[in-house]
Assembly symmetry: C2
Homo-oligomer: 184 residues x 2
């Protein structure tokens, strides 16, 4: 049993795909076997557009076959990494959540968030991985998300399992061709 | 004396700004004093658009007060980081160039390149830093670059010090409001 700890930016892209690929053994890396992930921690800033991305992640897990896993929201109290202090706050927030053998995914969020997450993972003896979403699909998904910003209530309901009204569009936010690469 | 080792993506943004801010002591970090940088290593992939970004960096250093520093091109023989193998090749390319006390800037390039550079820096006991370019300026600079793609010959000449024909536009590629943040 291990946790998947994923950074999140303004797009939900990556978290669910990493979870699915990791637990099914469908990733690149030495001895790629299905990982036993029972918890997914989503590490994010408190920026408004990132809050919305978190609601989308929650809806995706609730409506698109993500049941059976505990999804935890870990908001770090910064808006962005704009200073040494922001970096320290973010990094200590990530570091304190990682245990040996966990999987740390730096796909989402700013480059400095990815650096903080990867350094923390290595300090703790955790795995480091990322998921590559083809640019064309990434652009399509970004457009779909724009269409959902006016439906925040429906997205929140979907996050609680009331998927019927938005299930189709929510599940179109999942990349079909995402490749997950284990680096450590 | 130390080297500045910077990753480069499809935009030249960051390398020159980091160099100027670092050598003038105009950066955020504990005991921020002017750093004695005599060499700048630009680490990049061999992708075509990244090659062009390198030519722009060379022109910026040659035409916009970057004289007195040795600028070295370090192309790593991959197109992008799409696999564990690409990551390994890129990381070992960075790692082998870093000495204790060097400054490693992960501003340019893909997130996985930034992760490789930051991990390498920490392994070697080098500093880690990044430069933040305001989004509006970044967009303006991206537009200016598009206008230069048809003038690759002039950009190459500028890189050799023949600046007269493109100096104005080349130096407009330098952000005036870039902030450099030393993380380690």
């Amino acid at each position: 049993m291990a946790k998947l700890i994923a950074t999140l930016g303004t797009s939900p892209g990556g978290v669910f795909e990493t979870y699915v690929n990791l637990t099914s053994g469908n990733y690149e890396g030495e001895n790629a076997v299905p990982a036993d992930i029972t918890e997914v921690y989503v590490i994010r800033t408190t920026d408004k557009s990132v809050e919305f991305a978190w609601k989308l992640v929650k809806a995706i897990f609730a409506c698109c076959k993500g049941e059976g896993v505990n999804l935890a929201d870990i908001p770090i109290p910064i808006q962005d990494i704009n200073s040494t202090q922001d970096f320290k706050v973010f990094k200590s927030g990530v570091l304190s959540r990682i245990s040996v053998g966990d999987y740390v995914d730096f796909t989402g969020g700013r480059k400095a968030m990815g650096v903080a997450a990867a350094l923390s993972a290595r300090e703790r003896g955790a795995h480091v991985l990322t998921t590559i979403i083809p640019q064309g699909e990434y652009n399509r998904i970004s457009e779909e998300i724009k269409g959902l910003t006016s439906k925040e209530n429906l997205v929140e309901m979907a996050g609680k399992g009331n998927c019927s009204e938005v299930k189709d569009v929510i599940c179109r936010l999942v990349s079909k061709n995402a490749r997950t690469v284990l680096l450590y």
